[in-house]
């Protein structure tokens, strides 16, 4: 098992390097001279040339990429924002926790809704409950999450005045954005839970359990759900990606000072180091989370476990022979 986790960790480093490379290449294609962007339109040519020399912008592409990676890994440095002239890392660090909170809460909401609705739907297949769940799933699936966020704020903040419309001064302000992202994300989880539950329900061992006279609740939770969860766990990683990507827009709708909102402002101001840094940090977050789900999965999946254990055993045997 340890070997599997190490393998995944090493692979994650490669993936992150790849992500950095993509983002760096993207920045290469952006119009405009970074030195000029930092100094502003009114700086004269000499100043710009001096800045270019200082930033060593005339080095070959790969050298600059290497330096970017070096600065990131050893100095936690993602460059300097064109606009505020502050280090990007510092600005990201203050906004990062809010986005994590939104992402995790959104995921919890979507998993909770998806799981409960999925189980009910599968256990009571073709009932009116199943139909209602399905209808809501397809409706929320078709709605753009930013529109759902706008409509929720219209209803609950502007009309009913139950919740604050914008800003961030505590958890209460996160309810609407989390609801919008969670409802939107729950549809995919719902579908997965329902379909894998339906697969499991038809298995022989469920009939055996029932024949043994086990209670229905025990059958659902212990026999069906446990086996149906496997594909759902892998799905959760994808869902978090979607939720975090969605939070980019939703944060801006509710004026929440998170990483997504920061990135969007940077996009409007063409502040490329910030865009680059934000995309990387968001991808980093998702990678870490995917790694965690993979590890959870490896503990849940006896096949994978035995595969690695038998590998170890056969190697030991090989040494003895």
């Amino acid at each position: 098992m340890k070997k599997y986790i190490i393998k995944r960790l090493l692979w994650m480093i490669v993936v992150l390097l790849g992500v950095l490379f993509i983002v760096f290449v993207l920045l290469e294609f952006t119009p405009g001279d970074p030195a000029r962007q930092i100094l502003g339109v009114y700086a004269d040519e000499e100043e710009v040339a001096a800045k270019r020399l200082e930033l060593r912008l005339d080095d070959p592409f790969l050298v600059r990429f290497g330096r970017y990676v070096y600065n990131l890994v050893f100095r936690f440095d993602l460059g300097i924002s064109y606009r505020t002239k502050l280090p990007v890392m510092q600005e990201i660090a203050t906004r990062f926790p809010i986005t994590i909170a939104i992402g995790v809460l959104g995921l919890v909401v979507s998993v909770a809704i998806g799981l409960v609705a999925g189980i009910i739907s599968a256990v009571k297949q073709y009932s009116w409950l199943d139909k209602i769940c399905n209808v809501f799933a397809v409706i929320f699936h078709a709605m753009p999450n930013f529109w759902l966020a706008l409509e929720l704020s219209l209803i609950f903040a502007l009309y009913l005045k139950w919740l604050p419309p914008t800003g961030y001064k505590g958890l209460k302000y996160l309810i609407l954005p989390v609801a919008a992202l969670g409802l939107n994300g729950s549809t995919a989880i719902f579908r997965q839970v329902r379909s894998s539950m339906l697969d499991v329900i038809r298995e022989d061992y469920i009939r055996t359990a029932r024949a043994k006279g086990q209670s229905e609740i025990k059958i659902i939770l212990k026999h069906e759900l446990r086996n149906a969860l496997m594909p759902v766990v892998t799905m959760i990683g994808n869902s978090l990606g979607a939720i975090i990507a969605g939070s980019v827009v939703v944060e801006s709708i509710f004026s929440i000072p998170g990483l997504g909102n920061y990135m969007l402002q940077a996009i409007n101001r063409r502040d490329y180091p910030v865009i680059q840094g934000s995309v990387f940090v968001l991808a980093f977050m998702i990678c870490i989370f995917n790694l965690l789900t993979d590890i959870v999965y490896s503990f849940l999946d006896p096949q994978l476990q035995s595969q690695y254990q038998s590998n170890v055993k056969s190697k030991k045997r090989g040494v003895k022979a």
Partner: protein, 288 residues
């Protein structure tokens, strides 16, 4: 010859009958045809032009003359939504066409040749998949600087990795079948095997993925436009209309509600159509 022709026809009939049994899918198909017709004949249907400004009637609520009201520049929202169907649909369809075509080539090569080629291609795909597709699209669109063309490139590039993965898996499954072996024995070229023999066998998956891709493309395009990286004013894309109406949401919520409903219904219809197609292609999957 005749027998095979009638056989093909009855296959299609069976397929069509299976499809028609799913009422939501039929609704989806009808709505798609309807919205395509609306997009094609927009200038004849829309009562006003999409950029006819009349500041004296700005922000009038829905009435008999302006069914969906007017926006902050006095433009008719109903007409803009009709013209918006053109932009949203064509962006959705063309990004999916570009991404599916590219992904078909990548997935085909990767799945067919396998081994080292497959390994290299899939590791690159893995790296791209680490970034959620919409985030990748946002990053690319931000780099290219907004507008319809950059949105097209950004959305297609965002969708390629996921679809390549899917097509590769399908191709790999086909490669082990006997007809591919047989084709290899007849010394058919790789290209011929890939596109003449394997492709027809993964066509059903390709069509279903394409349909769902269009729905996703419309959603993502509306998101890019909403954050200002897609269609630029005065082009009436539904997401862009939402974005323009956002400032007036408190007093004129219809500016945000109608385009949103339009996006949702269209995406819903396409998804239902896709679901119906999948069930009709493969009855075993029904209800899943």
């Amino acid at each position: 010859m005749n027998a095979s022709k009638s056989g093909r026809k009855s296959q299609f009939k069976l397929f069509f009958r299976r499809f028609c049994r799913n009422k939501l899918a039929v609704f989806g198909l009808i709505f798609i045809v309807f919205i395509i017709l609306v997009a094609l004949f927009a200038p004849f249907i829309a009562p006003y032009g999409y950029d006819d400004q009349n500041v004296s009637i700005r922000l009038t609520k829905p009435n008999s003359e302006h069914w969906f009201g007017t926006d902050d520049l006095g433009r008719d929202v109903f007409s803009r939504m009709i013209y918006g169907a053109r932009v949203s649909l064509s962006v959705g369809i063309s990004t999916t066409a570009i991404s599916m075509f590219t992904a078909l080539i990548i997935g085909m090569i990767s799945g067919y040749y396998g081994g080292r080629t497959d390994n290299i291609i899939m590791r690159i795909v893995d790296v791209f998949l680490a970034i959620p597709s919409i985030l990748l699209s946002i990053a690319i669109a931000a780099t290219l600087g907004g507008g319809i063309v950059s949105m097209l490139i950004a959305l297609s590039m965002g969708a390629i990795p996921g679809v390549s993965r899917l097509i590769r898996a399908q191709v790999m499954a086909e490669c082990h079948k006997e007809y591919v072996e047989a084709a290899k024995v007849t010394r058919a070229s790789d290209f011929r095997i890939m596109f003449k023999y394997i492709f027809p066998n993964i066509l059903s998956v390709f069509i279903v993925t394409f349909t769902m891709g269009v729905a996703g493309g419309i959603l993502n395009a509306s998101m890019l436009s909403f954050i200002g990286l897609g269609a630029q004013p005065p082009i009436p894309e539904w997401g862009a209309m939402l974005s323009e109406g956002r400032a007036y949401i408190r007093d004129y919520p219809y500016l945000v509600t109608y385009p949103g409903i339009m996006i949702s219904i269209t995406v819903f219809a396409i998804n239902m159509f896709g679901d119906g197609l999948r069930d009709a292609f493969d009855p075993k999957l029904k209800g899943r």
